[in-house]
Amino acid sequence: MFRLLKSVLLLACLCTHVFAQTTSFPGVGRIATPKEVGAWDIDVRPDFKGLPAGSGSVAQGQEVWESKCASCHGVFGESNEVFMPLIGGTSPEDVKTGHVATLLRKDFPARTTFMKVSTLSTLWDYINRAMPWTSPKSLKPDEVYGVLAYMLNLATVVPDDFVLSNKNMAQVQQLMPNRLGMQTQHAMWPGDEMGNAKKSDTRNTACMKNCAAEVVLSSQLPDYARNAHGNLADQNRLVGAQKGALTTQPERKDLSTPIKGVTEKLEPSKSDAVLTLLQKNNCMACHAVDRKLVGPALRDVAQKYPNQAEYLAKKIKSGGMGIWGNIPMPAQSASDSDIQTIANWLAKDAVK
């Protein structure tokens, strides 16, 4: 194996030498080996160039989905807790027309991935290169086919017994609910490759005097949102022509009320080190300290298990399901010392 690699490298060096003489930057860069190109050239185009051979059924996909995808995307792809929902808002009628009718409904709350995407290749490519979120590029091609088959089935594009493969991707493309929903007739692509418009779609003029007939305020933040982005006094420099508004308090009455100073900085909390560990080990992908995400709020966990560090460490290691709902927590591979630190913090300090 080593000898083979060595000979490939030798060959590469030789070629570089020959090639370099034909460029104006001799000695810079080298030829990529076919194996290197194979390792990185993973993109799949809309015409399915780059698609590896393989297949996966809806049932196989469901298995992968429930263990690796459901925790973020929901068992039925409906989750809006971590990422935008993938499935929903499309109908069998859309599969016929190629236009998603829901996109015209202003009362429809979300735009799911299946409502928007027109190209099947996009989904295969992205699942393959970027999913699962915390361990991208770990799925085998057959698993990607299976997961995509399961999603297509959830979106009622293909039947329960469907097997998706490199051979029928082009046919399924013709069933994509929003396959005719794209246009490029705009002036926002530099160049003319898209057959796009030359002129921008808005046309203002630089009027200088008596321009607007009337000035009507149409939108403003409600008073209750005054402090929603934190204290704005802390978000402006101490000196300058303006100060930040002290949003922890009501507005000052008038110009004669002095502008109050900036509030005291919070001391770095004892929890900061643990929060870094939680980040490092991807815990925050599913948990937040004060609110429920996919998993329970860490504060709630801490309240439920005071002084039970050993139990908590065990649960982090093994994962589990049922205590906080039916979305499973996968077993965690963090180091023992990290897990112990996190468990100790949960058991003792997190509630304070």
């Binding site: 991208p136 607007a212 900036v262």
Partner: protein
């Protein structure tokens, strides 16, 4: 001849900003939304009628020290004037003053559910000139950021080329380099305000915007080294090395013009990890998502790639239910950075209105500023340098008379394109477009000095 004060004020045109009386504002605030239109209209008509009235408020107000003998900061010599200071290289890599800790990039609460697929906004309200300090450059990651060992980083060129090639960082930094100033703006900048006002300050409305001097190699140089087939080549795919291996289709025309750079330098040092260390693509004038970070591969092709961020996101939903795909150019836009939302003016008197203007199609030609909600405008001073597809700083003098005012800026680029109003933008693209909101921003200065983010119908 009246007074010297009024002669000096001559170059400051008195703007008809006193178009709303205190009573008008009270009436407005107490009124039902439907009735507000009428109040504002009558107030503006009144303002036009009284435009000739002279307000004495603006004339030089000099405050006297509160202490009888003088300012203790002057009278009592401080420690730093009477003791020895700190040694050189106390901080081998320097830090901002501890008193600048309010100037930070920030997340917008509730905008995203995770911190790795999220955004941190640059504090535009606190920045000067046009260069964004690298530590305050806005952040947008799709799968978290990494600090990548540059000795192990590689860039591959493949696709429609004679010879697929690999470059390491030594190779890339050995090649002929260029340094250029360019803005980078996320396609979703100001997205939260598409439908209505949603956030309080310019950091959150416009903070997915930064400008740096980038150093690197024109991509066309690398493509030529690999023997690119320019007859067949129509589109290029750029791919990152991070978890999401972010991909985007890059416009060929910008590559051919030599504008697209494979960059490693930012403001005189290497890129920061949050901005793609050690290598990122620079695509001037095009939305930030195309500036692929941790760049590992360039593929030359003959059709667009419909990647996730051009087939699921970064598309503009039009009122007819169709999505505009491959919208890339950031059209001409500007914003007043001070006074801006969430700030408080101390008192009446002089203020410098300052802001930033930019265009994805070239240089900024003109910026106009209004303090009466867009009825009347004045040309702002454009500060040099004025560079193509870079931020341009503008300033205009203003004497505030203490009456409510609505501050706006409106930029025009060298193609003659003028930044649209919200009304104009929505009339074409509706209110659910999300991306590419380049509408004129309005800041309401209230009588109590607080500045609010508002929109005008």
């Amino acid at each position: 001849m009246t007074s010297t004060a009024s002669t000096k004020r001559g170059r400051i045109q008195r703007a008809p900003e006193n178009f709303l009386s205190q009573q008008d504002i009270k009436n407005y605030q107490n009124a039902e939304p439907n009735a507000r239109r009428g109040f504002l209209r009558s107030a503006f008509l009144a303002a036009a009628a009284s435009a000739a009235a002279f307000s004495p408020v603006a004339q030089g107000q000099v405050t006297t020290p509160a202490v009888e003998d003088g300012d203790p900061n002057i009278l009592n010599l401080p420690e730093h004037s009477t003791h020895l200071g700190q040694a050189v290289a106390t901080h081998p890599y320097g830090l901002p003053s501890k008193y600048e800790s309010n100037v930070q990039r920030r997340q917008s609460p509730g905008l995203t559910q995770t911190t790795q697929s999220s955004v941190a906004f640059a504090p535009l309200q606190s920045l000067f000139g046009i260069v964004t300090p690298s530590g305050l450059h806005f952040e947008r990651h799709h799968q978290g950021w990494w600090d990548i060992d540059p000795t192990k980083h590689r860039l591959m060129i493949n696709g429609l080329v004679k010879t697929p090639m690999v470059f390491n960082m030594d190779d890339l930094m050995r090649l002929t380099s260029v340094s250029r100033f360019h803005f980078i703006e996320c396609g979703a900048n100001t997205a939260v305000d598409w439908g209505n006002v949603a956030v309080p300050t310019v950091q959150y409305t416009h903070g997915m915007l930064s400008c740096s001097e980038f150093t690197g190699v024109p991509l066309i140089t690398l493509l030529e080294m690999a023997g690119v087939d320019l007859k067949k080549a129509k589109f290029v795919l750029a791919e990152g090395a991070d978890g999401s291996s972010m991909t985007r289709t890059i416009p060929m025309s910008l590559i051919l013009s030599g504008e697209v750079l494979v960059a490693y330098g930012q403001n005189g040092e290497m890129l920061r990890p949050e901005n793609g260390y050690p290598l990122r693509l620079v695509v001037p004038g095009v939305q930030g998502v195309s500036w692929v970070k941790y760049l590992r591969r360039i593929e030359v092709g003959d059709m667009p790639y419909a990647t996730k961020d051009e087939a699921v996101h970064y598309m503009d939903l039009m009122p007819d239910g169709q999505h505009r795909q491959y919208t890339s150019i950031q059209e001409c836009k500007s914003v007043v950075t001070t006074p801006s939302g969430g700030q408080v003016l101390f008192d009446k008197g002089f203020y410098n209105i300052t802001g930033l203007a930019w265009s994805g199609r070239g240089k900024i030609k003109q910026v106009d500023v209004s303090v009466d909600g867009g009825r009347n405008w004045r040309h702002a001073r454009l500060e040099s340098p004025i560079m193509s597809k870079a931020l341009t700083r503008f300033n205009v003098d203003w004497v505030w008379d203490g009456k409510p005012a609505i501050i706006q800026s409106r930029a025009m680029d060298e193609t003659g394109f003028v930044q649209p109003t919200y009304k104009q933008l929505r009339s074409v693209r509706g209110t659910r477009s999300i991306y590419h909101n380049n509408a004129i921003q309005s800041w309401l200065v209230q009588e109590n000095g607080e500045v609010k983010n508002v929109q005008i119908a």
